[in-house]
């Protein structure tokens, strides 16, 4: 019974992690976003 319980926990853990990765991939920054952020950090908004 404990074994199946652990399996259930594993299932929940894998499902939550996979769902977490999958659903937040759309909100991940693009390379251009990263570039813009870096230039803003170094030069401010006006010089970017």
């Amino acid at each position: 019974m404990l074994a199946y319980g652990c399996l259930g926990i594993l299932f929940l853990y894998a499902a939550v992690r996979a769902g977490f990765y999958w659903f937040r991939r759309n909100s991940a920054p693009t390379q251009q976003d990263i570039d813009n952020s870096l230039l803003t950090i170094l030069n401010g908004e006006s010089e970017r």
Binding site: A3, R17, R25, A28, D33, S37, N43
Partner: protein, 316 residues
């Protein structure tokens, strides 16, 4: 001033500025000068920031996988029968594989996320490291101008301000400029007028006029009066007008500039302008057309080159 003949090291342009950035794995110092050793701790542990971010993302994902494997092993350990162990093992393996597969699919996005977090977490330090690099580059000004220029060129992908642009322009005046050199102009255009920049533009009109584009024409037009105040100002403006003549679009867009300095164009540039005006009589505007014809009548009426029909693409 005697100019220095130089051969610049090949410049690797990058699509994104952060691709110039490296980070020390040991002390987390950033640098963009392409060093082998960290400028802060001296260790040879510099890696591109992208690589560092990918390692961070992978480490996080591996931790998740290890936790999943651990839970699967606990399930197998707690099984009473062989059937239970096999079932737990198979289910555990399937779930870990599924998790691994999903992680592979989102690896690129997680790396981007880790990279952005890396750059944002210590913004003050990043800025200080870049300005330290700038000071390092500038410190070679007296001893090695070529190296200073090359380092500033690398840094200018990240530090975009008129000061660093002017430093590069000032250094270029120390060098003998040649057609085969990897020269740029648009990234060096500053907000205000500077005679060194005007002079550099004048040099480029002789050796690399294809670098003279819309932003340069606009700059020259904005500061035409100031450029005329220079000793060689008329020559610079005539050179820019000569560069405009290489494309009909530029002649149309900057017809005023071309008209004002058409009389100073060398023969080959004027011939090209003359042919553009001849082939497009209704597009060029009355003032430019009449000025071109006036110069033709005055200087080239009997020149055989002007009597031949134009051959397309012969003169750029």
């Amino acid at each position: 001033m005697k100019k220095i003949p130089v051969h610049f090291r090949p410049h690797q342009p990058v699509k994104y500025s952060y691709q110039k950035l490296t980070i020390c794995k040991s002390c987390q110092t950033f640098t963009a000068l392409g060093n082998q050793q960290c400028p802060a701790c001296g260790k040879s542990s510099l890696v591109p920031v992208e690589q560092h971010a990918a390692s961070t993302a992978k480490r996080s994902m591996h931790t998740s996988l290890l936790i999943a494997v651990f839970i699967g092993l606990v399930a197998i350990f707690l099984s009473h029968t062989l059937l239970q162990m096999v079932l737990c093992g198979a289910a555990g393996l399937s779930l870990v594989t599924l998790l691994w597969f999903v992680q592979r699919q989102v690896m690129a996005q997680e790396t981007n996320r880790a990279l952005l977090a890396l750059l944002q977490q210590d913004q003050e330090r990043l800025g200080q490291d870049m300005y330290r690099d700038w000071e390092t580059a500038f410190s070679n000004w007296d001893s090695d101008k070529q190296l200073t220029y090359e380092l500033l060129r690398e840094l200018s992908a990240l530090l975009r301000n008129d000061t660093i642009r002017l430093q590069q322009v000032a250094l270029l005046h120390y060098f003998v400029l040649r057609k085969d050199m990897d020269l740029v102009l648009e990234p060096l255009l500053i907000t205000n007028y500077d005679p060194l920049l005007a002079d550099y533009i004048g040099e480029l009109t002789k050796i690399k006029r294809d670098l003279i584009k819309d932003s340069t024409f606009q700059y020259v037009l904005n500061y035409e009066l100031e450029i005329l105040g220079l000793e060689n100002g008329q020559d610079i403006l005539a050179g820019v007008a000569g560069a405009a003549v290489r494309m009909k679009r530029y002649v149309l867009s900057y017809s005023g500039l071309v008209r004002r300095y058409a009389h100073k164009l060398p023969k080959d540039r004027f011939l090209r302008l003359y042919r553009i005006v001849q082939q497009n009589p209704h597009e060029m505007g009355e003032r430019l057309t009449s000025e071109v014809h006036r110069i033709y009548q005055e200087k080239y009426q009997w020149d055989p080159d002007f009597q031949e029909p134009s051959t397309r693409g012969s003169l750029i």
